[in-house]
Amino acid sequence: MTAAVAVGVLVAGGAYLVLQRGLLRVVLGFVLLGHAMVVLVLAAGGDRGGFALPGNGAGAPADPLPQAFVLTAVVIAFAVTVYLLGLLRAGAPDPDADPDDDARGPS
């Protein structure tokens, strides 16, 4: 239940930001959407608690497969986000940004 609410809030916030004008907000929106998917995939492994190690004494171990998925996906999403931030700074200023958006810095 907690996971479902968390995914809902993250997707709502991410979708709101992605629909904004400035590219920086769009990038932050993608970060939120990415986190939402991370929580979703983790929740897809079921709600068995405990570490993903057999024999840690805390009942059934959690499903390790979604954790491995998430680890891979986080790395990829992080790399692409950083590249997108690089594109935000590179070259011409973002034509869609608000005039009072000072996040771009001097260019």
Binding site: V18, L23, V26, F30, L33, G34, A36, M37, L40, V41, A43, A44, G45, L65, P66, F69, T72, A73, I76, A77, A79, V80, T81, Y83, L84, L87, L88, A90, G91, A92, D94, P95
Partner: protein, 487 residues
């Protein structure tokens, strides 16, 4: 045998790493890049010959037991797409010598990584590995897109990266939901799951939506013209042959395996396919330069391929496979001709070119004429055979409006190909100053070769028709592939 399946993924990756470590040398990059891609083409040809007999070569990478190992497997459809993408990569690398794009030292390694990703995506039997391989394709493409020294490149790259990041996020969400419902991401174990399990169908639909964005299906296509128009000529050729094709391959594979060709939803695919054809071809009518016309037609041709998927009969899937192969080759030739004109005259805007290039660029004009006829579907080119196959399959099993769209869109395609022919090649000698040197063989050779291939595939269509019919049969009934990857 197992080395052959792994080589198309592993070899380009190793060569890319070697090239990045080796001292800077354009000659070394050319030799290793073209050589290793040539080897991949050979491996893909051998694999295709094996798969056409019905065999499905499988590798459990690392020798892990099935269910844990990374599984690579190829059936006839996979091997055909592998051979196609490897050939386009090979010719694209040769063409890049002509345009001078490969003088950037990261160009060849990036292209090799991209081709490794494509090979992995067409041979993997695991949904999550498909996600990873698609990212392996995309991340080099983000860099390649910004390589051309164009004014709009940053804006185009922002659009392209954002759209693909969104599609990847949706893809991941779909995989997560599918895993939550079924407890596995192995495609073999997921066979037919979406046909009789509604939550799984919804999750799989999310995956298909993400693949629809990546393959530029209307109404998810509007990113394609904006981003492809900022890339360099050789990069555009490679993108047109590799990127959206991975999305199309995944749509075919997932529809065939997950949905088992479920007939309840076929009308959705047919509506999307016809919309893609019509919207693509109409947006080409208004375009005023060579490359925008060609990218708009790319959208329209994707619609043609999807018609075969929407029919989901053996004839339809076979026709779509044939269409896919010939259209990728023809499209690459057209992009090469457009890029060569751009490289030699500094522009591809029709009003600035002013026509008449047939007097100076005879071989480019021949290559354009041949491939444009194939794109329209005039006999005796391969496009005619492909459209005839598709129209026959649509007439046999589809609604009447699909057949109408197949024929009408061809007529409109003719209009914009004539516009390009008149605007670039036909007429009085051009007002533009002639370039100092003659066009190099690496610039003109690849498109000529592809145009000759289009003619050959039309006159002697039997081998490819046989192969694509076998591939279509295996897509319509994927049980051999499923059995092989779950063994």
């Amino acid at each position: 045998m197992s080395a052959l399946v792994v080589a198309p993924v592993g070899l380009p990756l190793v060569v890319a790493a070697v090239l990045l470590l080796a001292p800077r040398s354009t000659v070394l990059a050319r030799v290793l890049g073209i050589g290793s891609t040539g080897l991949v083409v050979v491996a893909a040809s051998v694999l295709l010959a094996r798969t056409l007999t019905g065999e499905v070569p499988v590798v459990q990478v690392g020798g892990w037991p099935a269910g844990i190992a990374v599984v690579l497997a190829l059936d006839a459809f996979g091997a055909l797409v592998l051979l196609l993408t490897a050939s386009v990569t090979l010719l694209g690398l040769v063409y890049a010598v002509g345009t001078g794009e490969d003088r950037d030292r990261t160009f060849t390694p990036l292209v090799l990584v991209m081709s490794a990703g494509v090979s992995g995506a067409v041979s993997t039997a695991d949904l999550f590995n498909l996600f990873v391989f698609v990212e392996v394709v995309l991340i080099p493409s983000y860099v390649l897109l910004t390589m051309a020294r164009r004014r709009q490149r940053i804006a185009g790259a922002r659009l392209y990266v954002s759209v693909n990041l969104l599609a990847s996020t949706l893809f991941l969400g779909g995989i997560g939901l599918l895993y939550g419902v079924t407890g596995t991401v192995q495609l073999g174990q997921l066979a037919g799951v979406a046909a009789d399990n509604a939550p799984a169908a919804l999750a799989a639909a999310l995956v298909l939506l993400a693949m629809g964005i990546k393959s530029a299906v209307v109404p998810l296509h509007s990113w394609l013209p904006g981003s492809y128009s900022v890339a360099g000529p050789a990069v555009t050729v490679l993108f047109s042959g590799l990127l959206t094709k991975v999305g199309l391959y995944a749509l075919f594979r997932l529809w065939s395996v997950l949905f088992d060709g479920d007939r309840r939803f076929l009308w959705v695919l047919l509506v999307v396919a016809v919309l893609t054809m019509v919207v693509g071809v109409l947006s080409a009518v208004g375009a005023k330069a060579v490359r925008p016309v060609l990218t708009a037609h790319m959208v329209s041709q994707i619609g043609y391929v999807l018609v075969g998927l929407g029919l989901s009969t053996v004839a339809g899937l076979g026709a779509a496979t044939f269409f896919l192969v010939q259209y990728v080759l023809v499209k690459a030739a057209l992009f090469m001709v457009g890029g060569a004109v751009e490289v030699r005259y500094g522009t591809d805007v029709l009003s600035r070119l002013g026509g008449g290039l047939v007097h100076r660029e005879r071989w480019l004009a021949v290559a354009f004429a041949g491939s444009a006829l194939a794109l329209v579907g005039i006999p005796p080119t391969s496009g005619f055979v492909a459209k005839l196959q598709l129209a026959t399959a649509a007439a046999a099993d589809g609604p009447w409006w699909v057949l109408l769209a197949v024929v009408a869109v061809s007529a409109v395609t003719l209009v914009s190909m004539l516009k390009l022919w008149n605007g670039v090649f036909w007429g009085d000698p051009p007002p533009l100053p002639a370039p100092a040197r003659r066009a190099s063989a690496t610039l003109v050779g690849p498109p000529l070769l592809l145009a000759a291939g289009a003619l050959l595939l039309g006159l002697w269509a039997e081998p490819l028709l046989t192969a694509s019919t076998i591939a279509g049969g295996q897509l319509a009934d994927p049980s051999a592939w499923v059995a092989a990857v779950t063994r």
